[in-house]
């Protein structure tokens, strides 16, 4: 349970700033709804996706938000499951952000479907339990329910809530690990695609969720506390700062391992050369977007001696980590589809169905609007929730979160 001296309170901003922010998110929500109905009416031909690149920009936004969702819960889990007291005041916000991120991500996925109206068939029992997608539907619903319970256990004053706080926290943490394994397995199970067929994608997605979830948590925490004129001390921020660096490096380790192990197998040389070899959009995005901007730069910002306790540097590191993760997902998911499917190894193939050629993809405005809809939905949910319920500690000053800190 949270530290006794921590007081939580609703956000009391009523001014133009608060409603302006909501209105700003509302614009993107409206844009997403227009995009959905336009695509629903015309069909997917108005998108940049096609029969070669079947998953596009909306899927990158969706996977990003879903992966970040389970990671955002980590902050709470570290407090509950591992008993680190300094993280406990952050538990409520962590749970809220996790739920909102997941809802945002799922909304994009559902709105992008060719036949969203057929989703009801799943509720009627049309579920194929051999499909990791079907499992994910259950994992996502369960995650929302468990984190909801977890929030209740943190926020309720009842004795039963206090008693259940730890077991529910442990369950939510376990569930989130399984959930991200499921998300990573979506790609790991694609045996025919040279870019995806790797079991390491499941643990890699787990560690990616750690870094993306924490990055988003830091961004929301710092922005929310600044805009509501609440205090956050260096103790909390520095804990999160160095944890972020560990997670960023964890992702790098698994990503490097994935490529190195792929390079052992001759059948993967083609796709590895395509992604790592340079000279195309995806390899540039990998080296500049993920490695340089999304990994080396944030780690540099975190460990630079001259930027110790520098909040702008931390915010920049978190934003860059998120952008880098987005780039990595783009390279994995879209780059993996752009590389031609191998029908006949060691042969050149061509056809009217674009066999043997690197597939191009330019996302349309509609896809971007759908993606931003998910982000706006997540941010709007958090913005409304912190005003309605007591998610945010009134202060996260050093004296509050860690009175014994020197």
């Amino acid at each position: 349970m949270s530290n006794k001296q921590v007081i939580y309170s609703e956000v009391e901003n009523n001014g133009i700033g608060y409603y302006g922010l909501l209105g700003f998110f509302g614009l993107f929500l409206l844009g997403g709804i227009v995009a959905f109905f336009t695509m629903e009416h015309h069909g997917h031909y108005i998108s940049g996706m096609n029969n070669q690149i079947v998953w596009g920009l909306p899927h990158i936004f969706a996977i990003f938000l879903i992966v970040a969702a389970s990671g955002a819960l980590n902050v709470g889990s570290i407090g509950t499951v591992f008993g680190k007291k300094i993280y406990q005041p952050l538990g409520r916000l962590s749970g809220l952000i996790a739920i909102a991120l997941l809802v945002g991500g799922l909304a994009i996925l559902v709105l992008d479907l060719g036949r969203s109206d057929h989703v009801i068939e799943m509720a009627k029992g049309h579920l194929n339990f051999k499909s990791i997608f079907a499992w994910n539907m259950i994992l996502y619903s369960g995650f929302l329910a468990l984190v909801g319970l977890y929030l209740w256990a943190m926020m309720s004053r009842s004795k039963i809530a206090k008693k259940l706080y730890k077991p529910i926290g442990v369950s939510a943490f376990t569930w989130r690990l399984i959930l991200t394994t499921g998300t990573g397995s979506i790609f790991g199970f694609l045996v025919a695609r040279q870019a995806f067929d790797a079991a390491i994608l499941a643990p890699e997605f787990i560690v990616l969720s750690f870094s993306l979830g924490l990055a988003i948590f830091i961004i929301v925490l710092m922005a929310a506390y600044k805009w509501t004129q609440r205090e956050v001390g260096d103790t909390v921020l520095n804990r999160l700062r160095y944890l972020l660096a560990v997670f960023i490096l964890g992702v790098l380790l698994l990503e490097v391992t994935r490529h190195l192990t792929n390079l052992y197998a001759t059948e993967h040389h083609g796709v590895e050369g395509f992604i790592l070899g340079g000279g195309n959009f995806y390899s540039n995005l990998f080296w500049i977007g993920y490695i340089l901007v999304g990994t080396l730069l944030p780690v540099g910002l975190i460990f630079c001696r001259f930027l110790k306790n520098n909040r702008t540097a931390l915010m920049a590191a978190a934003v860059l980590t998120a952008l880098g993760g987005f780039a990595l997902l783009y390279v994995i998911v879209i780059g993996g589809q752009a590389y031609p499917l191998v029908l006949f190894p060691n042969s050149e193939v061509s056809s009217s169905y674009f066999d043997g050629v690197v597939n191009s993809y330019s996302p349309s405005m509609w896809e971007l609007l759908l993606g931003l809809f998910g982000v706006a939905l997540f941010l709007a949910m958090v913005t409304v929730a912190v005003k309605v319920l007591r998610f945010m500690p009134a202060s996260l000053a050093d004296s509050v979160v860690d009175p014994h800190a020197k």
């Binding site: 015309h42 069909g43 997917h44 031909y45 096609n50 029969n51 070669q52 690149i53 079947v54 998953w55 996925l109 479907l113 060719g114 036949r115 969203s116 057929h118 989703v119 068939e121 799943m122 049309h126 579920l127 194929n128 051999k130 499909s131 990791i132 997608f133 079907a134 539907m137 979506i186 199970f189 694609l190 045996v191 025919a192 695609r193 995806f196 589809q337 499917l341 191998v342 029908l343 006949f344 060691n346 042969s347 050149e348 193939v349 061509s350 056809s351 009217s352 169905y353 674009f354 066999d355 597939n359």
Partner: protein, 245 residues
């Protein structure tokens, strides 16, 4: 009291209506299918048969383009007006292959290979992609949500999403905007004892038949000369085999 009686009467009427509709829904498909001359599912479609095709690429007319045209005419795909070339459906295409080391070249038609362990059916969240007992892999358009996971999973790129609304479809080959489709092995024909359209147009280069029947022409031909699978390394035990590749 009167009101209560009325409500009871409404309830009874409603329940009878529901029961009637349910009965009609249960019986109608059987009746309609029989009227259309198809075999009712579970009735005559059984795992005793495994339908397959053996394609001799050296005997294919016009490098296989003739069978592609026949399929297109039979099912009406590829005429989507709004979709660009990368978005248009292609249930079957001819692939030109040139082996880098030897320079050996050949053309072959590639379509759904009707795998025994179909990756598309494995990954489909709703079960819309499924394998019939007789080995034909199909999509149930009524429960396909258009997630395209099957397209990601297919090793043969044999599937297409319909990217736009369609009009004037062939009654025997229903298609739908936002759903995924692929070669049906012309189930509407084989269920009536006819040959698939591509087989008819192949001038004898494609043998269609029952792989489970060791006396069938296809089994005899496979036994005599063998037949290769594309990406045999995946172990999918495809229903479509090739000679000459």
């Amino acid at each position: 009291m009167n009101n209560t009686n009325n409500i009871d009467a409404y309830r009874r009427k409603f329940l009878m209506g529901v029961a009637g509709t349910a009965t009609a829904i249960t019986i109608a498909p059987g009746l309609l299918l029989r009227q259309a001359g198809a075999k009712a599912p579970g009735d005559e479609i059984s795992n005793k048969n495994r339908w397959g095709m053996l394609i001799d690429i050296d005997r294919l007319p016009n490098g296989g383009q003739t069978v592609v045209d026949a399929c297109q005419q039979e099912h009406g795909w590829g005429h989507e007006e709004e979709s660009n070339d990368k978005q248009k459906a292609q249930w079957v295409r001819t692939v030109h292959v040139k082996e880098k080391l030897t320079g050996h070249e050949f053309d072959l038609p590639v379509m759904c290979q009707h795998c025994e362990t179909a990756p598309c059916a494995d990954v489909c969240p709703t079960g819309a992609s499924f394998r019939r007992k007789d080995g034909v892999v199909l999509v149930n358009k009524h429960i396909c949500i258009g997630c395209r996971y099957c397209m990601m999973a297919c090793p043969y790129k044999a599937r297409s999403l319909v990217h736009e609304a369609l009009f004037d479809q062939k009654p025997h080959s229903p298609r739908g905007k936002g759903t995924v489709e692929s070669c049906t092995m012309c189930v509407h024909r084989i269920d009536k004892g006819q040959l698939p359209a591509c087989v008819e147009a192949s001038n004898g280069a494609i043998i269609f038949g029952d792989l489970n029947d060791e006396n069938s022409e296809i089994s005899q031909a496979l036994k005599a000369k063998g037949g290769k699978q594309i990406r045999a390394d995946l172990g999918l035990n495809t229903g479509v085999r090739y000679q000459g590749i």
